[in-house]
């Protein structure tokens, strides 16, 4: 069996597992959907945090913005949004299946592009900051966004909005949202796998390793930074739109802009799996989600302590993450080798002798 064939089998197995998992374990459909969402979070955070070395604590902004934009579009296509949010709880509006599905499709598409545009504008402001200042700056904007939305009555303010009801049975509803989460995570992965095979990845890595050098070499650093962030925002916007509908009710602080839960989880998952790799975030997200669900079920009351312990172990003893550790342990597997044949041929040449001195 050649390598190409093995790869195809590997990816096919993952896709089949993704499709059949909720059928085999129907009780866990919601959890599995959240797992795919976590993978999407980790993958998009890694674009900046891992590949480009810009540790953003504010990526949750795009999740929340996507959620609100999707919701407003969904409702706004068929009703007056201000009236809908003002009558929250008092009037029950039913959406026909046609209205529901056209609304959610348009909502997700618009949320994705709007978030990408927000990233461009927001990037223009915060990309002047470097290192820890960038982290704090982005965190500040994400928190501010939650508070601002909470004070905006048009979108329901702190009281939130309840989303249109899914026109179908509860089983269908779970499966529908599971599939949306699954497809969006897989699309994110495929997109990044392609993106990381182009010049784009090298430019991001160059910015990570030495931005000043990258500038001195004439790389359009701002262009790369802004586009990288809008890619992350694009997919996060979609995930926000899906998550809002899956939850059925959104409000600014706990659901849309959960800085201390999802906002931090996306960082932790990447650190756990290994920054700056394609598979690291995926592996990190799976392990993190499993640990989190186990502690939330069996260690209730101590779950945050267990999570804190995991963070400390990760940061103190295991900084490079699982993929980083594997790369250090088996460098040949990752193609980090000395060309032995040439090295021995060069041994007697003066050039090589000088260079190795």
């Amino acid at each position: 069996m050649n390598l190409q064939f093995k790869k195809i089998i590997f990816y096919a197995a993952i896709l089949l597992a993704g499709i059949f998992a909720p059928i085999v374990f129907p009780a866990y459909t919601f959890q599995l959907a959240v797992l795919w969402m976590m993978i999407l979070f980790a993958l998009t955070w890694d674009i900046l945090g891992g590949q480009m070395g810009y540790n953003s604590l504010g990526n949750i902004l795009f999740f929340g913005a996507g959620m609100y934009i999707c919701t407003v579009v969904q409702i706004g296509m068929y009703y007056d949004v201000a009236e809908y949010t003002a009558h929250f709880g008092a009037v029950k509006i039913d959406f026909t299946p046609y209205q529901y599905f056209t609304g959610i499709s348009a909502g997700l598409v618009i949320a994705a592009f709007a978030c990408a545009i927000i990233a461009v504008i927001f990037g223009w402001i915060v990309f002047g900051l470097r290192g820890p200042y960038f982290a704090i700056g982005t965190l500040g904007v994400a928190i501010a966004a939650g508070e601002l939305v909470g004070a905006w009555d048009y979108v329901g303010g702190g009281g939130g909005i309840s989303l249109p009801n899914y026109p179908g049975g509860p089983g269908d509803r779970e499966m529908f949202f599971y599939m949306l989460c699954f497809i969006s995570a897989v699309c994110t992965f495929i997109f990044l796998k392609w993106l990381y095979s182009t010049r784009f990845q090298l430019a991001l890595n160059a910015i990570r390793d030495d931005e000043e050098k990258a500038e001195a070499m004439g790389i359009h650093t701002n262009r790369y930074k802004t586009i990288a962030w809008s890619f992350a925002a694009f997919f996060l916007g979609i995930s926000g739109g899906i998550f809002g509908n899956m939850t059925g009710f959104i409000e600014p602080l706990e659901v849309a802009f959960p800085t201390v839960t999802f906002g931090i989880f996306m960082v932790l998952m990447v650190l756990l799996g290994g920054k700056g790799t394609l598979w690291g975030p995926v592996i990190g997200a799976i392990i993190f989600h499993v640990i989190k669900e186990i502690t939330w079920t069996y260690l209730l009351g101590w779950q945050w302590v267990a999570l804190g312990a995991l963070i400390i172990i990760n940061v103190v003893y295991f900084q490079q993450g699982i993929m980083g550790w594997a790369q250090e342990k088996w460098p040949e597997f990752f193609g980090i080798t000395v060309d032995e044949a040439i090295a021995s041929a060069e041994e007697n040449s003066p050039a090589e002798k000088e260079a190795s001195l």
């Binding site: 010049r199 890595n205 050098k213 000395v338 260079a355």
Partner: protein
């Protein structure tokens, strides 16, 4: 000979410290020009002014008859002036080939080019240049794991990959052992002859700069002290005084 870089009456101060005062000088196209001076005489400041790293207080800098003192670092780099750093700077977590590929010139890249793969000929050129500096067998190693001397060679190869018109080298031999220095001098000369790259070199090692440059400028206390051929500079009493502290 065409004067590719023309610096006229450039002043640059950092607070009360005058780093460059009324500096005027020329770099001739296709030649190797040297810049010497005691520590703190303003050599690196002049380099930084030319490549747009900081704005100058007054004066003009022309490159190919174009005023560049208002342009940004990236723009100047894309025009064809490249510099290497005194403290070697490479992309330390990437392997050598990737370091080389990302250093390919960016002056005529289009928006969509950033989403394409590198063409085969670029990879071949990268490998050819790595061979030129003697790093070919180590091309897949993470560059941060190379020795300091090897990193300097890699940085030089990256600069060549960019195909600049002028290359500004900030102490290319600092921290390199004497054997490797000879190899480096040889490669700098070949880069000048074979690739036609104009070199402008800051250097403390007199043996190197006298051997390399055809025209030498000497700075002291932020002022242009002297200019001439290596022989003239060697004999110049002002230069000797500056180095020995009679100033």
């Amino acid at each position: 000979m065409n004067k590719i870089i023309q610096v006229r009456d450039v002043n640059k101060s950092f607070g009360g410290v005058v780093a460059n005062s009324n500096i005027s000088m020329d770099v001739e196209e296709g030649k190797i020009t040297g810049l010497i001076g005691p520590n703190g005489s303003g050599k690196t400041t002049l380099f930084n002014s030319i490549v747009g790293y900081h704005p100058i207080d007054s004066g003009t800098i022309h490159f190919d008859n174009r005023e560049i003192s208002q342009l940004k670092v990236q723009k100047i780099a894309r025009l064809g002036i490249l510099r290497t750093f005194q403290q070697t700077r490479i992309y330390s977590k990437m392997n050598c080939v990737k370091n080389m590929l990302i250093s390919a010139a960016h002056h005529n890249t289009k928006w969509l080019d950033m989403f394409t793969e590198y063409p085969q000929e670029l990879t071949e050129r990268a490998e050819h240049l790595l061979e030129f500096v003697g790093l070919y067998s180590k091309r897949f190693l993470i560059s941060g794991d190379l020795s300091f001397g090897q990193q300097k060679l890699l940085e030089f190869a990256m600069a060549l990959m960019n195909e600049p018109k002028v290359l500004l080298l900030d102490e290319p031999t600092a921290g390199i052992n004497p054997t490797l220095i000879n190899g480096l001098i040889d490669r700098l000369k070949r880069a000048n002859h074979e690739f036609g790259i104009t070199l402008f070199v800051i250097e403390h090692n007199m043996r190197v700069v006298m051997n390399l440059a055809e025209s030498i400028y000497c700075l002291a206390h932020g002022e242009m002290l002297s200019h001439g051929t290596p022989e003239a500079i060697k004999q110049d009493q002002k230069v000797i005084d500056a180095y020995l502290g009679a100033h």
